[in-house]
């Protein structure tokens, strides 16, 4: 009798140990993995190869919007300065900031040259927040650690920050926006962003 009970307890423990982490750790990784695969499909699709840039960007944008929490990302980027903006300004900021990110990163994504994405692990950051750690392996065998920070809202996992080689996108922009907002009103920040989003290439 006693032995049997111990047997049951052991079995339950095993089940918890074996299933627990997987059930728990799976959702965010699976979510982002599915979306990355969708993006890679678009990039690899031979039918799209000769299509215009805008066609591909449009397809990728639709996928990215599914997985990125644009509001959360924008809000965290401004941090405590967020409240200095009126509701209207906040909406414009979300729009402009995301257009800026798209403008900057679209070409990097479109320049895809067979890099591999390896999922390393998922680590918990706190309540309803995890970091999904991936490695991008480039064609010349360099590894670029790329982590996605995700938050769960109503059971949906969405990305609110991307960390490349330890550099958080949110933190990096926050220092820049913070510096501007320390000296200038929000309206001027929006004006700077408008110009930045609408200007042509100015990399040199």
């Amino acid at each position: 009798m006693e032995r049997r009970r111990i047997g049951w307890i052991f079995l339950i423990c095993m089940v918890v140990v074996l299933l627990g982490p997987h059930v728990h750790a799976g959702a965010p990784t699976e979510t982002i993995q599915a979306r990355i695969n969708q993006v890679l499909e678009v990039l690899r699709d031979p039918a799209l190869k000769d299509e215009a840039r805008e066609v591909k960007v449009e397809k990728i944008r639709a996928i990215i919007n599914e997985i990125f929490d644009r509001t959360e990302l924008s809000r965290r980027t401004l941090g405590r300065d967020w409240k200095k903006l009126s509701a209207e300004q906040q909406n414009e900021f979300i729009d402009l900031f995301n257009r800026l990110l798209e403008k900057v990163y679209a070409d990097r994504v479109l320049n895809y040259a067979g890099e591999k994405v390896v999922f390393e692990k998922e680590s918990e950051l706190g309540r309803d927040k995890v970091e999904v750690q991936t490695n991008i392996i480039t064609s010349d065998n360099k590894e670029i650690p790329l982590y996605y920070r995700m938050i769960s809202k109503n059971g949906q996992w969405a990305v609110y920050d991307v960390i490349i080689e330890g550099v958080s996108l949110v933190k990096n922009y926050r220092t820049q926006f913070g510096d501007i907002l320390a000296k200038k009103p929000p309206e001027e920040l929006l004006e700077i962003l408008r110009k930045k989003v609408n200007e042509g290439d100015t990399s040199s």
């Binding site: 809000r75 965290r76 941090g79 405590r80 967020w82 409240k83 200095k84 800026l100 990110l101 900057v104 990163y105 990097r108 950051l125 706190g126 309540r127 927040k129 010349d140 065998n141 590894e143 650690p145 080689e165 330890g166 550099v167 958080s168 949110v170 933190k171 990096n172 922009y173 926050r174 220092t175 820049q176 926006f177 913070g178 510096d179 501007i180 700077i192 962003l193 930045k196 290439d201 100015t202 990399s203 040199s204």
Partner: protein, 268 residues
């Protein structure tokens, strides 16, 4: 004798740059606190941040890290930033481009591998100084395999063995592990973003660099370093441009990215 004196002087200079930082930082903090007090007393509601603490963003894990590094030498650093920027666009980039067009990628990779393999003592000694025996072991295994099987480091054979792949170590990171903070931000001509701590580390690391004791002529050393830089840049054309394009203020973006990236390396 004269070189030793010069090294001593440079170390003293960096020491001087390092020590005043705490004083500078506390002065900055103090003046900020004073400014805040003034604003509060004048009833400036727009900059009243206190309500932030107990609202829905209180879980923000980045909040305490926004300042990251003191930059009392802002004027100097900004000047160096413009200098390095022009140096990249006017000299380094065109040279690296031409070089890339002429030299096939296989050869460039070999040069990169040899340079990397040669720097083994820096990584090995610093891993040991940080008490990371396992990492030092991996570094040694990596050096051994690449030197023997990889023909003096031409091929990065060790790359196929995950156990032998470790992150970079240098003296700046060792100092950090020993408990030293960044000190102040320093943008170095030619070398780019650094901090008082990492600049001293960089100087120390040159003595662990085989080029320092294998080659006597300073001109040759500089030529080798220059060649390496061009080779490395040939792999990365476009990265700096993208970073600049993404930024609203490239200087601040680079400064912040430097510290964040270093913090990650230190943790590893």
């Amino acid at each position: 004798m004269r070189t030793r004196l010069a090294i001593g002087l440079i170390l003293a200079l960096f020491g001087w740059l390092y020590i005043p930082h705490s004083a500078v930082a506390s002065a900055v903090q103090w003046s900020n606190a004073l400014a805040q007090q003034n604003q509060e007393s004048t009833g400036d509601v727009s900059s009243n941040d206190d309500e932030y603490e107990d609202d829905e963003y209180a879980d923000d894990e980045y909040d305490d890290e926004t300042a990251l590094i003191a930059d009392p030498l802002y004027g100097f650093n900004k000047g160096v930033y413009y200098f390095n920027d022009k140096l990249y666009f006017w000299l380094l980039k065109p040279v690296a481009r031409g070089y890339k067009a002429v030299v096939p990628v296989e050869i460039r990779t070999c040069i990169r591998n040899v340079a990397d393999n040669l720097r083994f003592p820096i990584r090995f000694v610093n891993a040991l100084l940080q008490g990371k025996v396992r990492k030092a072991g991996s570094e040694f295994g990596r050096f051994f395999i690449n030197s023997v099987v990889g023909l003096g480091g031409l091929a990065d054979i060790a790359h196929n063995y995950p156990a032998l792949n470790t992150s970079q170590e240098d003296l700046g990171q060792t100092f950090a592990v020993w408990g030293f903070g960044n000190g102040l931000y320093l943008n170095l001509p030619l070398f780019g973003p650094s901090s008082a701590r990492d600049a001293i580390g960089r100087l120390g690391d040159t003595f662990l660099d085989p080029i320092w004791w294998l080659i006597d002529a300073t001109v040759t050393r500089i030529a080798i370093r220059g060649g390496e830089t061009v080779n490395e840049t040939s792999f990365r054309i476009g990265d700096y441009e993208a970073l600049k394009e993404a930024a609203l203020d490239p200087y601040i973006a680079i400064r912040n990215a430097y510290v964040q990236n270093r913090n990650k390396l230190i943790q590893e």
